[in-house]
């Protein structure tokens, strides 16, 4: 075949391949996209609508009108004070996730990745909290603190009253559960680090700390960024297990935004028209939080990717 004919044949082949590729692409992505449209787009569009709805059945019929009342409710002086308290707690948990949970989880994961002493045993024990149902862990912990360790604290700690130890005790539980959450993901990501790079660092005389910080962390930076994005996304939904501990009686001082929102739509506290009205208020608050958290999350991600450590 001449060169021209070869190029033409190759071009046809490429075109056919492209078409088949498109066919493959469309057939594989169609159903997931449909599921996404149904269960995300349509569902949440309705939620956005609800943020502007007023529900009234006082005349014996359900009447829905539209206004800014639900949004305005959260700007009244008293609600702002409560919300701010919740936001502070939520930010505290965010900071815990980023500056305590993540670094320590990474260190633990590195320890297992490098197969240091008793790594296998630690690996199994570390992972246990993430496989035990959180409800069950809360039961164990609640009775453990309030009964087994009550002597240490001079009485029950976990309850609806504010006391000096309670926030600390709740944070300890949160940390216990959080450390093990992403261990697997970190270890899996660390496994991508070429052994030759680590060996080279060893030969250059780097200690384990340097290898961790300068070799492994840059390698898994993408995973780290992904998880930080998730932490930011959790900012408005993280209940910090408060509902499982307290039902709807968590003390105001410990509440997070996620718990505050969840409490609004708990049908144990509110029923009927009250619950319907609260659903709409909660949708409004969720919408406002989304508009704040979403751009912050994207900004954080882009900054971390731009200025974070590089693999090379």
């Amino acid at each position: 075949m001449t060169g021209q004919k070869l190029n033409a044949a190759s071009a046809v082949k490429k075109k056919m391949s492209k078409k088949r590729g498109m066919l493959f692409y469309v057939t594989m992505i169609a159903f997931p996209l449909l599921q996404f449209v149904l269960f995300y787009v349509i569902v949440n569009f309705n939620s956005v609508l609800m943020a502007f709805q007023n529900y009234d059945n006082s005349t014996g019929k359900e009447v829905i009108t539209f206004s800014w009342d639900n949004i305005a409710y959260f700007f009244s002086a008293d609600v702002v004070v409560d919300l701010w308290l919740c936001i502070k707690n939520s930010l505290m948990y965010l900071a815990l996730n980023i500056f305590v949970v993540m670094p320590i989880s990474l260190l633990f994961s590195y320890y297992v990745f490098k197969k240091f002493h008793m790594a296998k045993l630690f690996k199994v024990i570390m992972y246990l909290p993430s496989i035990v149902c959180s409800t069950a862990m809360v039961i164990f912990y609640k009775y453990y603190i309030n009964d087994a360790l009550s002597g240490l604290f001079g009485g029950s700690v976990i309850g609806p009253i504010f006391n000096a130890y309670q926030q600390g005790v709740i944070i300890v539980f949160y940390l216990l559960m959080s450390f093990s959450g992403n261990i697997l993901l970190y270890i899996n990501a660390m496994c991508q680090t070429p052994e030759s790079v680590i060996e080279a660092a060893n030969i250059d005389g780097a200690n384990e700390g340097r290898i961790f910080l300068n070799v492994v962390v840059p390698q898994i930076w993408g995973t780290i960024v992904s998880l930080i994005v998730i932490f930011f996304a959790w900012l408005a939904t993280n209940q910090a297990y408060l509902f499982t501990f307290y039902g709807f009686n968590a003390n105001r001082e410990y509440q997070t935004i996620g718990y505050y929102l969840f409490n609004m739509i708990q049908d144990g506290r509110f029923t009927g028209a009250a619950l319907e009205q609260n659903y709409r208020k909660a949708s409004a608050l969720g919408l406002m939080l989304t508009l704040i958290v979403a751009p912050v999350t994207i900004l954080v991600r882009n900054l971390m990717l731009k200025y974070g450590p590089k693999e090379d």
Partner: protein
């Protein structure tokens, strides 16, 4: 290590298999199979603390009554299919597409379900006599005449009825009568702490002198101010109540226990005290936002409570209440007095190391209502001091399966001061429980459903309810002497508290259209005592704000609600 893991895994699998094998003792007696020769009536009942024995009996009797009735072609008789669980309805949509015909539920916002169109019109049932047999009915009173006036006001929607009230209950202070008798915890005749000073309250011998030495000693008249009634010897006023709590501790009794998980019970009790202080007419303003308020506390320009020269709280002039002024009801004096009472539950005000009035675990979120009941009923078995009062709802007696030989009573709430002794009692019933029929019930089954609902309103059925639960349906009926004689002391106490002419029970539910428009404001957990969107429980507020007084808390409530 690998082998160890394999061995452990194998052992655990074997344990699980062993557990399945040994533990699977199957008792399928609760399964219900459809009898195709009969018409099925599906009944869903919120089977909470009141239990289901009463309903099981009535269902069996109803089936027997209609054993040879024909409601559907080719079918004779009725088979009741029961769903007696703790499942609640989340809203009218929860009823759609379900097989259930008749509901007996709590936490039902009546108007939401009416507006949702899911409740069958029961007007014909209500305006008729209650069914007592297949072809027999009562002849004395129609069902509509058994509905308590305060319920009738909101159940009647433009002349139609869509539901009937189920139970009526409040949060009460329950006490062990035998323990009270043994320890002489009754005020002696003519004795009261009404004139006590702070120094007197700290004086043990003065406190002790208020109480009987012997079970047979004559007792004070109690809150109703009448001699030889069931409340004789019980604290008549707040000061008497305070003295009682101090005396209890002197005799080695812990005054109170409540559960730390469902703290709404505490709010319920203080709501009750608020209603009792206000009286029915003034308390009802909170459910109508329409009327004249004459018990509002006067505030100065800074939102502070104004006092008279003699130190008493100054009341404002009579005020017309409408939707724009509904928040003024937060200034009802009965609420301020209720906050004083809340403080008495927490401590005796003496400021010493023994001042706490409640059992130490009461604010432990793992301390359930069952634990609290158990500790109250069996202090010896739990190695604790006896407990004076259990704070719990009227259902607790059945829930705890208390044996009938226990003498348990309900404390009539004390009055704010001696001037109020003898004033009628007011209670609030906050569970919003109703009986209604699903609008999707087929036309063939509707007559059965209606007959069943009607039967449940018969005096016999309501008396059966009371016999088993020791509480009352939220309807007008009385008990036969035979039933009364066989009731427990607790049941008799409930009867005495509720059925006296002096007691009005208000349903905690928005009555007027204006009130219904503000339904989210009127949640019984949050309406009365909120100082922000989260703090709404009086006892917890006082615990969290150690320096708060009833007046400062009252002012904070106003500051939030104004």
């Amino acid at each position: 290590m690998k082998n160890m893991v394999k061995i452990i895994s194998l052992l655990l699998c074997l344990m699980m298999a062993f557990g399945f094998a040994v533990g699977c003792r199957r008792d399928n007696s609760d399964d219900q199979k459809v009898n195709k020769s009969k018409t099925q009536l599906y009944v869903k009942y919120y089977n909470g603390g009141f239990g289901d024995e009463w309903l099981n009996q009535l269902c069996a009797e109803f089936e027997e009554m209609y054993a040879d009735a024909h409601f559907e072609e080719g079918k004779t008789g009725v088979q009741i299919m029961k769903e007696f669980t703790r499942g609640q309805l989340t809203g009218p949509n929860d009823m759609k597409g379900k097989p259930i015909n008749v509901y007996l539920m709590e936490n039902i916002d009546y108007y939401t379900y009416v507006a949702g169109g899911t409740m069958l019109d029961l007007t014909d049932v209500v305006n008729d006599f209650a069914v007592t047999g297949k072809d027999t009915k009562e002849t004395d009173k129609k069902i509509v005449n058994k509905i308590i006036d305060s319920y009738d006001e909101f159940l009647n929607v433009s002349g139609k009825y869509y539901a009937l009230p189920l139970f009526e209950t409040s949060i009460n202070l329950n006490y062990d009568i035998d323990m009270f008798e043994q320890r002489g915890l009754y005020f002696a005749e003519g004795k009261t702490a009404e004139d006590f000073t702070e120094a007197d309250f700290a004086n043990e011998s003065k406190i002790s002198a208020l109480f009987v030495n012997d079970a047979d000693d004559a007792r004070a008249n109690g809150p109703d101010g009448k001699p030889t009634t069931s409340d004789d010897g019980l604290p008549a006023t707040y000061k008497d109540f305070r003295a009682l709590t101090i005396y209890m501790k002197i005799t080695g009794v812990t005054p109170f226990v409540w559960n730390g998980y469902e703290t709404g019970y505490l709010t319920g009790l203080i709501n009750d005290m608020w209603a009792n202080n206000e009286g029915a007419e003034q308390m009802k303003l909170n459910f109508t936002f329409d009327g004249v308020a004459n018990t509002l506390v006067e505030l100065d320009g800074n939102g502070k409570v104004v006092k008279n020269a003699d130190g008493t709280i100054k009341l404002a002039r009579e005020t017309d209440i409408d939707e724009s002024k509904k928040n003024l009801l937060q200034l009802q004096k009965g609420k301020l007095d209720a906050l004083e009472f809340a403080k008495l539950l927490l401590d005796d005000g003496l400021g010493n190391k023994n001042s706490t009035n409640y059992y130490s675990k009461s604010f432990d979120s793992g301390f359930s209502n069952i634990n609290a009941q158990n500790y109250f009923l069996d202090p010896d078995g739990n190695n604790i001091d006896p407990i004076g009062f259990l704070v719990d709802g009227g259902w607790w007696y059945n829930e705890a399966k208390v044996s009938n030989d226990r003498n348990i009573g309900i404390l009539p709430l004390p009055k704010t001061d001696a001037n109020q002794i003898g004033k009628p009692n007011t209670k609030v019933s906050d569970r919003s429980s109703f009986i209604f029929v699903n609008n999707e019930t087929s036309t063939a089954v509707q007559p059965v459903a209606k007959a069943f609902v009607s039967f449940l309103q018969s005096d016999y059925a309501m008396e059966t309810y009371t016999k088993y639960t020791n509480t009352f349906r939220a309807m007008k009926y009385d008990l036969s002497k035979k039933t009364l004689d066989t009731m427990s002391a607790y049941g008799k106490s409930v009867y005495a508290t509720r059925n006296s002419d002096d007691t009005t029970v208000l349903p905690w539910t928005p009555i007027s259209q204006v009130a219904r428009k503000n339904a989210s404001l009127l949640s019984y957990r949050t309406y009365g005592f909120s100082v922000n969107t989260q703090e709404n429980n009086p006892l917890i507020y006082f615990k969290d704000h150690a320096n708060a007084t009833a007046v400062s808390y009252f002012e904070a409530i106003w500051n939030y609600r104004k």
